[in-house]
Point group: C2
């Protein structure tokens, strides 16, 4: 029998584990929402228990698995499977996650960054099918990315390559990123930047046509808020969408100049900012790239859907 893949996607709000066929289809998955805040060792036991449950309910043994691929929301030292930092999970600073999981299983455990897993999912089953090289950029609360070269994830020496989100694209900006720097792409254009943009525009005298609820606070300005506002024609929300798209357009252009790739895939919640957003990203890119494009480059939206992290983590066992 063909071996089955097991994927685990550790997110900030949910923890998913699933059995995945080599064609990328899910046999079964279990999603929990109670892992956040637990100590690392408990999360390891939770994952291990979930994998055993999945095996049991499908009449499978460990031996039926190719291995267990785990996607982690933060920096991972790839060579030894130690987590470095996570902005979405408590703890996990220098935690030997791969080794701890490996103790519970006889099959191979592989640990990688979650954006790398998503990028690899796009390559095998999503918008990257048929390509050997692509850059995947996910724009949501933060900005993550995965670099695929010759059908493999490029990770750098630590395993933290692809942090386009932390490249400086506007040093004169006063927007401070969670990394502590001003003017990096993530600081300027991720979900966390939306309240800042809204507030700054209000303070600079812009007006919104939206009726703000009595309990309004800046923190309520998230992707959905801005997206709804822009769709309703609010000029302030529209200008935020355009400004964020301009920054992402610069980021996409910089990726183009550095990698000269055939494909850049955009994913993440902020892609739901609407057609205006995606259109403006492409416009900004082409404004900058003009006559420097010598081979076709496709800039497309992610196709792998909400299980990309889970399926990708499993698929990385086939890398």
């Amino acid at each position: 029998m063909e071996k089955i893949l097991c994927g685990v996607d550790i997110g900030g709000t949910k923890l998913s584990a699933g059995l995945i066929r080599k064609d990328g289809t899910i046999i079964e998955k279990i999603t929990a929402y109670d892992h956040r805040g637990k100590p690392e060792d408990q999360i390891v036991e939770q994952i291990s228990g979930t994998v055993r449950r999945l095996l049991g309910s499908n009449g499978l043994d460990e031996d039926d698995l190719e291995g267990i691929g785990v996607g982690f929301p933060g920096h991972v030292r790839y060579r030894d499977g130690v987590t470095i930092t996570s902005s979405n999970l408590k703890g996990f600073k220098g935690y030997p996650l791969k080794e701890s999981l490996q103790k519970n299983f006889s099959v191979h455990v592989k640990l990688d960054n979650d954006a790398n897993a998503q990028a690899y999912c796009e390559l095998r089953y999503g918008a990257g099918r048929g390509y050997n090289d692509l850059i995947f950029l996910t724009i949501s609360t933060g900005i993550g990315a995965g670099i695929i070269l010759e059908r493999k994830v490029y990770r750098g020496i630590t395993g933290t390559a692809g942090e386009f989100g932390h490249t400086i694209v506007d040093p004169r900006s006063d927007l401070v990123c969670t990394c502590g720097n001003k003017g990096c792409l993530m600081g300027c254009a991720c979900g966390l930047a939306l309240p800042y943009h809204f507030r700054k525009k209000i303070e600079q005298g812009s007006t919104t046509t939206l009726e703000l609820p009595p309990d309004f606070s800046w923190e309520k300005v998230d992707g959905q808020f801005v997206s709804r506002g822009a769709a309703a024609g609010d000029p302030l929300c529209t200008s935020i969408v355009m400004e964020c798209a301009d920054y992402i357009g610069i980021g996409v252009y910089n990726i183009f100049q550095v990698f000269n790739p055939p494909l850049i895939i955009l994913g993440g919640g902020l892609c739901n900012l609407g057609d205006m957003y995606m259109k403006r990203i492409r416009e900004k890119f082409y404004e900058l790239a003009r006559d420097m494009i010598f081979d076709p480059i496709a800039i497309v939206e992610s196709e792998a859907g909400s299980d990309a992290g889970l399926i990708g983590a499993a698929a990385l066992l086939l890398e």
Copy 2:
């Protein structure tokens, strides 16, 4: 007998060809300064004649060569060896340089961008010995770069990867690059930007302690001018050195975030802006990178010297 490499470095001012041993030492080289402005076909004949002279004067045949490696100062479509653009040479738009040279020789001709050749020279014979991965950035009249991953040049689909010089690092800058965009690294921090920085600072009220010659014009502000001024303690030249170094520091930081490389090598004439310049580049990098460095990264100066382009072009035959 071990085969010998033949390298050709087509520069904006000089055209060099040489016979190179596989250890990177030069057997003989011929340098000409009269190729500029000639039609492409004449340059091909000049190169071919020079290679034959080198072979003849060393009692060698074509068969003694591993091949002929050519470095070109501009964009090259790598897969077919067609030049795309050059800012240093007339013509060469869509010129089949590899094929034209290949017609004159039975051994393999390989054509690549000159910064890729220099990067590869650093890998084999220079500051990159012992490394598998490195990024080479050359800062002179313009800014070029070469990306080495797993001991090979990473070129992208066209062959134009590594254009860090054209990544946007300051969209609010009014400095226009030769590419037409504002705020790219090259526009802000290459040799061509020095007259602009000098003029702008004068116009903003800065004063220079330098005695400007009677025939002074802004264009005279080049690397040597600024370097001498800074060495003499001129505050204006010093501030230009620091500002350019800050931009390069941002560029180096962005490379670090994207590639997570063990080594970044800086070369090119502007490295001669002095210790203050190199020190400030490193300072800026570490200011930005802080606690995001998880494995050692070396930021060093080029070691391959002024024949790096020639030797590297030859060495690419061994890639």
